[in-house]
C-alpha cells in the first residue's frame, strides 16, 4: 500500500514536473519573442532618431540659406534707400543753396523797400499824431478854461450865498420880540394900504 502510494506520489510529481517544464518552455519562448520585439523597437527608435537628425540638419541648412538671402536682400534695400536719400539730399542742398541765394537777393530788395516805406510811414504817422495831439491839447485847454471859469462862477455863487445867509442870520438875531411885533403890525398896515383885504 505504501508502495502504491509512493508510486502514485511519484507519478503525481512526474506530472507536476512535466507541467513545470511545459510552463518553463512556454515562458522561454515568450521571453524570446519579447526580446525580439524589443530589439525591433530599439532599431525603430534608432531609425527615427536618424531621420530626425537628418530633418534637423536639412532645416538648419534651409534656415541658414534663407537667413543669408534675407540679410542680403535687406542690405540691398538699405543700400538702395541710402543711395536714394543721399542723392536726394545732395539735390536738395544744391537746390536749397540756389533758392537761398535767390531768396536772399529778393529779401534784401524787399527789406530795403520795406525799410524805406516804414520810415516814410513812421514820419507820416508822427506828423498826423503830432497834429492830433496839438488839436486835442488845444481842445483840452479850451475845456479846462471853460471848466475853470464855471467853477469860479460856482465858487463866487457859493461865497455870495454864504454872505447872504450870514447877513440874514445876523439881521434875524438882531430882531427882538418887540421889533417882531412891530414889524408884523407894520406889515398889516402895508397890507391894508395895499388893499389886500378888499
Amino acid at each position: 500500500m505504501e508502495t502504491v502510494l509512493l508510486i502514485f506520489l511519484l507519478m503525481v510529481n512526474l506530472v507536476v514536473l512535466t507541467l513545470v517544464y511545459l510552463l518553463f518552455a512556454k515562458s522561454r519562448e515568450a521571453r524570446e519573442k519579447f526580446n525580439l520585439e524589443t530589439s525591433r523597437l530599439e532599431q525603430g527608435e534608432k531609425d527615427v532618431e536618424a531621420l530626425q537628425e537628418n530633418f534637423k540638419k536639412s532645416l538648419e541648412e534651409i534656415i541658414s540659406k534663407d537667413r543669408e538671402m534675407i540679410e542680403n536682400t535687406s542690405k540691398a534695400i538699405i543700400k538702395y534707400y541710402q543711395d536714394t536719400v543721399n542723392s536726394m539730399t545732395q539735390s536738395y542742398n544744391l537746390n536749397g543753396q540756389k533758392l537761398a541765394t535767390v531768396l536772399n537777393q529778393d529779401l534784401r530788395k524787399n527789406l530795403d523797400v520795406l525799410a524805406t516805406d516804414i520810415v516814410k510811414q513812421a514820419e507820416e504817422t508822427k506828423k498826423v499824431f503830432a497834429a492830433e495831439v496839438q488839436k486835442n491839447l488845444s481842445s483840452t485847454n479850451k475845456r479846462l478854461e471853460s471848466y475853470y471859469q464855471e467853477r469860479l462862477k460856482e465858487i463866487d455863487a457859493q461865497i455870495y450865498q454864504i454872505v447872504e445867509e450870514a447877513a440874514k442870520n445876523i439881521v434875524a438875531k438882531s430882531i427882538n420880540l418887540a421889533d417882531h411885533q412891530e414889524l408884523v403890525m407894520t406889515s398889516l398896515e402895508q397890507a391894508k394900504r395895499g388893499n389886500f383885504f378888499q
Binding site: 462862477k153 463866487d156 455863487a157 455870495y160 450865498q161 454872505v163 447872504e164 447877513a167 440874514k168 439881521v171 434875524a172 430882531i175 420880540l177 421889533d179 417882531h180 411885533q181 414889524l183 408884523v184 407894520t186 406889515s187 398889516l188 402895508q190 397890507a191 391894508k192 395895499g194 389886500f196 383885504f197
Partner: protein
C-alpha cells in the same frame, strides 16, 4: 337862533388851536346828550370851559337856551356847524407870538376883513421878520426876506458880483 346869538360861542377863539379845542368840547357835550337822554346842558354847564360856560349862561339869561333835550341837541349841532364855517386866515410869522398878541392880531384882522376870522398860524425863521398872509385864495409876502435879498443884490452888484449871481439871491 341866528348867527348873532351864536357869535357868543366865538369868545376866546383866536387861532385854529382854539377853534379845534372849542369844537372838541361842544362835540363831546353833544355826544353825552345823545347817549344819556336824561342829561341836559344845564347838568354839564359847570364842567365846560369858562368861555363856553359863559356863552351858555348868557343864553340862559336871555331865555334862549332850550329846555328839552332834543332842542338842546339841535342847538349844539348848530354851534358846531357855525364854528366849522368860520373863515381861516393863514399867517406865517418869523417868531412865536404870545396869546395876547395873537388875540390882538385876530381882532385887528377880523376888523379889517369885516368878519370873524380864525388865524391859522405857522412859524418860519427864514422870513426873518414881518409876515406872509393868505386869505380866500390871495397871497402876499410882507416879510423881510425878499427886501433883504433885494438890498444884498444891490450891494453885491455894486461891489462887483456878477449879475447872474446876485439874481440867484
Amino acid at each position: 337862533m341866528n348867527d348873532k346869538d351864536l357869535s357868543r360861542f366865538l369868545q376866546g377863539i383866536n387861532d385854529s388851536d382854539d377853534l379845534n379845542t372849542r369844537l372838541r368840547e361842544v362835540s363831546d357835550l353833544l355826544q353825552t346828550l345823545r347817549t344819556h337822554q336824561n342829561i341836559s346842558i344845564n347838568d354839564k354847564i359847570d364842567q365846560v370851559s369858562k368861555d363856553l360856560n359863559e356863552a351858555f349862561k348868557d343864553l340862559e339869561e336871555k331865555k334862549a337856551l332850550p329846555a328839552n333835550s332834543a332842542a338842546q341837541t339841535d342847538l349844539l349841532e348848530k354851534i358846531i356847524n357855525y364854528l366849522r364855517k368860520l373863515p381861516l386866515l393863514k399867517l406865517t410869522l418869523a417868531f412865536r407870538p404870545s396869546n395876547e398878541f395873537i388875540s390882538l392880531l385876530a381882532n385887528q384882522l377880523s376888523a379889517l376883513v369885516k368878519e370873524q376870522v380864525v388865524l391859522d398860524l405857522s412859524y418860519e425863521e427864514r422870513i426873518i421878520g414881518g409876515l406872509i398872509i393868505e386869505f380866500k385864495g390871495r397871497y402876499h409876502d410882507y416879510s423881510l426876506a425878499p427886501k433883504l435879498s433885494a438890498f444884498l443884490k444891490q450891494k453885491l452888484t455894486k461891489y462887483g458880483a456878477p449879475e447872474e449871481i446876485s439874481e440867484k439871491l
